[in-house]
Symmetry: D2
Subunit: 290 residues, 4 copies
């Protein structure tokens, strides 16, 4: 088990009355990720509406802001007890045997045009032995082939664009890996969160985007950007792609500042400090069930 | 109440073992659309897996086919008692007040790039009075601006393509209307089904695609292609767009024949025959709840 | 006749040996645009290669730079004696009658996907009386429908994107107008230059992009962005679209600063100062011939 | 020298008066491809306008057709005396040293988005030794990676689409190869013609599309589709991409039949029959000069 502590502070200047926000800023609670304690601060005296998706566990917070400054702070201490498996034991699941709630992650989405990438994916990964190893091969290929470079992509950049451009940030790596998985019939989804142990050379701590693929009855973690330690992920939202898992979706005239993120590993109640490390086990924090 | 009877027959030649199918071929059962009787025939002795989505009511059938011919027939008699409202009473719902299960229909998807169309939609429809009338204005604009022409679009055609091309089939009309609605923050989704009373000049009876938009706490029906009578729709599936509501998604080597569709209005148990007609009432068959 | 004086200064930091530059920075010399005097300064002692396209009149300058700072200054005094016509006298030219050198401007190009916009253009402008008035209608539509906003587009933005997005900068206005013209079989091309009298609210003086359309045997000027005075354009390059008319195309590692542009109207040799003004005459500076 | 004899017959049904055609149907005449004799038949008594581009050598024929059937036949006997070089002697040309008329083939175009593919191309081919061998590596990669399959692409398919889809016809192979060449600063263009010795398994004889890349002062031939024998190409048009080199561009309501193509190698005046064969020499038929 690892215990991670994070905080994120968002600062906005709301320019018009009634600017609406949809936030996905709170740690998901799954069978394997337990929120020990948490804090949520909203600087404006507004009504908020919260919802936790029973299956995806994403926690959505909505509010309509007043003109002026808006500060949102979300912080939590989270215990993560990963489900660990030997990679060789994890097979792909045949389409008729997928749980119904997993089917949506098989189809193309806004940023993951798996239909367009079908030919590429089949040619590159179609003949590989089906199972965790194939997803790992896709992850390795994306990590190796795409260069991490800030400011080379934007909110319109899709998986096909990244295949052509071969550069991007964690979100682009994730989209490309997801599209390639789906194109060979492996359900895959977009996950956002914070990553303990990110390479400081990539800039200040920030949100992270990574991938969960469905194998042998669970969602397993993959980090195609290769910049983080999967054991050190705190999960916020999961979704088809970045179109619906943004940490903040804003409707209206708002100026945003860069988020201020902090994350660290801390000792548990017994005083034991476990640091996230790279390993070869397959890791999962979600059974995909309610 | 209208009583409609439909049947659809699909014929395939399966070329390789283990070709998987995901069908959405059975009439949805909602508070307003009741399946009086139905029949499902599958010509191969294979195991099928059925699932009904508790919220969307879509009924998914999966199977893994054997090589050789495969025939699937779905038929049903359906009673539809529309929820009817005066259009002027139906307002849009503010984003913080939308039910959580409606939020996914606010975001861009594979074929409905509402993010890219934001500027167009705001300019064209942003200043209109918010409510049913605005959705109607979007529907009318799509009906008027896009020409119905077979074989002018394909499985890659998106809402942006249709805006530029100004022609397509019912699926393209639906994608464009959905994208424009979402771009002005009105949740909208893709619905597939059969339409009683389609213009025979458009070809033999076929599947139909139309739109449901969320207003005043319900999903209301719209037919942007202008080729059908909304009162005469039998709903099969709803989804973000055609990427996940196909009547058949096929994985593997399969040859398909054109579907054979039949639909008619029939008399109810009291011998009363009500024919679907065009009207000015707002029609809904779904509260969006489980 | 107007006499305009411009200067543009470009400053680069060349990071690696052998970075190549293709510049289009010098005023075109046409039958109607005469370069009275000009100056070109290049801060590095490198060989340059100049070429003037006999038909398009674009003056290309190439060089391979040394590491370190590079400063390029181009300045000229230019006399422009516009060919003026009554708009109602200018007809479109039938495709078989177009001069061969005009044909390339009929086809889609990187940023002007006139093929994709065919449906839109025919529907919107197909029924209009053919001639200068139709091109004016296209220009007016683009000016009215697209909002001028900095930083809303980038080097990937195409005419179709701008149609959906309805915002952009002069380059985007030009691409959309060009694509719409070509889609209804009117040859149109991209022109770059400097514009006297630009609205200072849009920022410091900069390069400008506008459109030339082929009518009645000449290239006529149009300013779809509506931000400038066509009579006050000094033309540098013309081309199919921004892909090949960039004022600087850079191959290699180079940091660029914003260009520093100055333009003013000056008195001619007789001491007469003519200021560019808006007018209703059709203006041309190019017969399209060598 | 090889002597090739071809004929192509096109049949149309013109549905409205004044449908315009632009044909590129006649063999180019270059220093290395000599038209020994030729025939052109047009079944309607209409005025035609012919033009030969002085640099590209493309021969354009325009006409405005009458309603009713239109038959166009183009046939010729052509002697091709290839300029042959040892591949290892052919270097790439630095950008400042390219002839001006070659520059347009360095920029992205409608179907060859070399700008979007820059990252991919640099990563895959950037480190290779510059010269003919690099172009050959690009050609080999395209041949190996893309599968030849009819009806998998259409008139909207671009190089980026083909990279993702990994299948297409000769036109798609050519677009992808051209885009990859341009992305690493090698001028490349689209060539259309007929190919002696095409694999009959690919269907009846048809037009062929291939690539010319600029190396060491000449345009050299490449066949990325791998379906033909470069020595057996009769060249019709060259251009940036398929947008402007179509054998027929049609404006107006016209029904087209499949072209009927015949090509064979014939004996020269001395009775010597040379059959085109595969070889390792670099082949060129064009110096790129007028």
């Amino acid at each position: 088990m690892v215990r991670l502590q994070f905080s994120v502070e968002l600062n906005y200047q709301v320019l018009e009355p009634g600017a609406d926000f949809i936030f996905n800023l709170q740690a998901a609670q799954t069978r394997h990720q337990r929120v020990v304690s948490e804090r949520l601060e909203i600087s404006q005296p507004v009504v908020t509406r919260s919802h936790t998706d029973a299956v995806a566990h994403t926690r959505t917070l909505r509010l309509s802001a007043l003109p002026g400054p808006l500060r949102v702070l979300s912080a939590a201490t989270v215990d993560i007890a990963h489900h660990r498996m030997q990679p060789q034991d994890l097979g792909e699941v045949r389409i008729p045997d997928l749980p119904p709630q997993v089917l949506p992650y098989l189809y193309p989405s806004r940023y993951c045009e798996s239909d367009k990438l079908h030919g590429f994916a089949v040619q590159q990964f179609g003949a590989l032995w089906h199972g965790y190893g194939r997803v790992l091969a896709i992850r390795d290929w994306v990590t190796r082939e795409v260069a991490f470079r800030s400011n080379t992509s934007n909110s319109l950049t899709t998986a096909c664009d990244t295949l052509a451009n071969k550069q991007g940030v964690c979100r682009d790596f994730a989209h490309l890996m997801i599209a390639l998985c789906r194109a060979v019939n492996i359900p895959a989804r977009f996950a956002t969160g914070f990553d303990y142990g990110a390479d400081p050379a990539l800039g200040p701590p920030d949100f992270h985007a990574y991938v969960e693929a469905w194998l042998a009855g669970r969602w397993y973690l993959f980090d195609p950007s290769g910049t983080a330690i999967p054991m050190g992920f705190v999960r916020l939202a999961t979704s088809r792609d970045a179109a619906d898992a943004a940490f903040a979706t804003i409707f209206g005239g708002v100026q945003s500042q860069a988020p201020r993120v902090h994350i660290e590993a801390v000792a548990d109640d017994q005083g034991v400090l476990v640091l996230p490390v790279h390993g070869t086990d397959a890791l999962s924090t979600d059974t995909g069930e309610a």
